[in-house]
Symmetry: C2
Subunit: 327 residues, 2 copies
């Protein structure tokens, strides 16, 4: 695609995992499609009105963070301690400035905390209570723990803890042994993210997650790690990852896509597919990513059965897909 007369373009993911038709009822599918479309539309509208790609990403991700359907913000899964601890990051492909938070518990919209770190601190990454305090000092919306606590997610945690096993070695989701309306965000792949290109030709990426159900010891996944869960550079691409975070960290997945483009002159799609289908799968890393380049090309590869994904074409058409057999 050539860089022509558009005012902005956007793609989002709502998590990858064992997303198959038989596991999600038609009603639930409709709920996901409606909310994903709403999120994309919100970000797209701001781009049409001249917003920067970073602002569009924050607008989009906030819609998902405000929904119980996704494992981020209000819908975050529970830790082993029965708390909700959230991670988020954002990167601006124009300036390469970046912000991230890990293990926050009180900030209503974690992506706004990542943005505040980027814009109002000299740091890239803040963590724990200190990051919550920073967000509060920045005037971000704060919520009590009850706001983030969803009774269904708590039930899932309690069931998991009863089994005395962590979600990480809970392999049922990989074998398709799940009931209909199994909550796909309770598996280890739930995360939301967005990539955007604005009318000035700047790309950006952002990612937000509640992490892994039953996580303990202050585990940090790839979502708040620049280079793994999020990366953006106008010269190459903007990427937001979703999947089994440990693999994305060790393979520096988002940045590897950018490097294949910069150093090997791969297209975005070739680079993203290589990382998802070869690099990550080389040792069993499951998940996917959304990417965008400065020409408005979009790539959305995943190696799990499905990935919630939405994008808008240059003509303004919104395309929503949930399963692996759609495109």
């Amino acid at each position: 695609m050539a860089q022509d007369n558009y005012k902005g373009i956007l793609a989002i993911h709502g998590g990858a995992g064992n997303i198959q038709r038989q596991n999600i009822s038609p009603e639930k599918q409709k709920e996901y499609i409606t909310k994903l479309t709403e999120a994309l539309q919100a970000g797209y509208d701001t781009l049409q009105n001249g917003a920067s790609s970073t602002d569009a990403i924050v607008t989009t991700i906030m819609v998902l963070e405000n929904s119980r359907l996704f494992n981020a913000g209000k819908g975050s899964v529970f830790t082993n301690d029965e708390t909700n601890e959230m991670d988020a990051s954002i990167m601006d492909g124009d300036t390469k400035s970046a912000g991230a938070v890990a293990g926050i518990k009180t900030i209503k919209k974690p992506i706004t905390a990542a943005q505040a770190v980027k814009d109002h601190s000299e740091h890239v990454m803040l963590s724990g209570d200190g990051a919550d305090l920073f967000g509060k000092e920045q005037g971000l919306e704060i919520e009590e723990s009850a706001y983030f606590a969803d009774s269904n997610r708590l039930k899932h945690l309690i069931k998991l803890k009863a089994k005395e096993k962590s979600e990480l070695d809970h392999d049922a989701d990989d074998r398709g042994e799940l009931p209909v309306d199994y909550d796909i965000n309770d598996d280890k792949y739930g995360t939301v993210g967005a990539v955007a290109l604005d009318r000035k030709g700047n790309v950006a990426a952002g990612t937000s997650t509640g992490g892994m159900t039953n996580k303990r010891w202050g585990r940090i996944g790839d979502s708040p790690i620049i280079g793994a869960g999020t990366y953006a550079d106008n010269e190459t691409c903007a990427i937001s990852s979703t999947g089994h975070g440990e693999y994305f960290i060790r393979h520096v997945a988002a940045y590897r896509v950018a490097m294949l483009m910069e150093l090997k002159k791969y297209s975005l799609d070739k680079a993203a597919n290589e990382v998802v289908h070869k690099t990550l799968l080389s040792d069993g890393g499951r998940g996917g990513m959304v990417g965008i380049d400065r020409k408005g090309n979009i790539s959305m590869p995943f190696n799990s059965p499905g990935m919630f994904r939405v994008y808008v074409t240059k003509k303004g058409e919104i395309k929503v897909f949930l399963f692996g057999d759609e495109k």
Copy 2:
């Protein structure tokens, strides 16, 4: 260098920054040289006895963590809250397994916590109190906060706080306006790290730090970030970074060296020099790194006035350098 009859090779850094002759008395220089040599010798001895590169790195870094001379473990600088919060990471170039901890307060030797995460958890990165708990559960040595509290470092913090400015905008160190025996580890570049190649031909890297004096909000720098502060892959190299962490994170500095080697076929030295002298300096990122490849080549570039660095030649000679005019 060809891969010949050696039993192991090792290089370490003890931090980069405004390390100039006029700022460090001859007595203090001797102290640094003695301790750096001791650390290298300890790791080198284990390699000669057949230890893996990861074990040699842990052995080496523990010596530096147990000294008040370096900003890691016992010598860690103070946060704004007058606590000592430490970060560390390690990566094995053979399996590409990795472990990291961020913001720990009680584990005597933080590099052992990173190693435990790598070897005994399904995660890559743990943080805060949870990471301390994990270390305790793993039977690692625990210390009270008094163990980490150095009176001189506390004085430095109090002075800084009185000025109500963070070390990050304390530019005196860049202008050479420092008294003799100014504590170089109180500046923003203090960190220790090591890279090693063992007799099996496996490389590894590890990094440990107390972070930045007067850091707040749970700030995490590059040291515990795989791809930024630490990276290792037998196919390319092992890297440990030291410097102004935010730049190393945004430029994914350690992994970028590996990518220039893998995708552009650069030598280790060419790749490391490009990242330190071009990529990082492109927006003012100061610091350096040590790297090793599978052939036993070592590279130790830095763009600050000095960097504490030590390595052992294949003949077993130990070389120690502190300043920019030595090699």
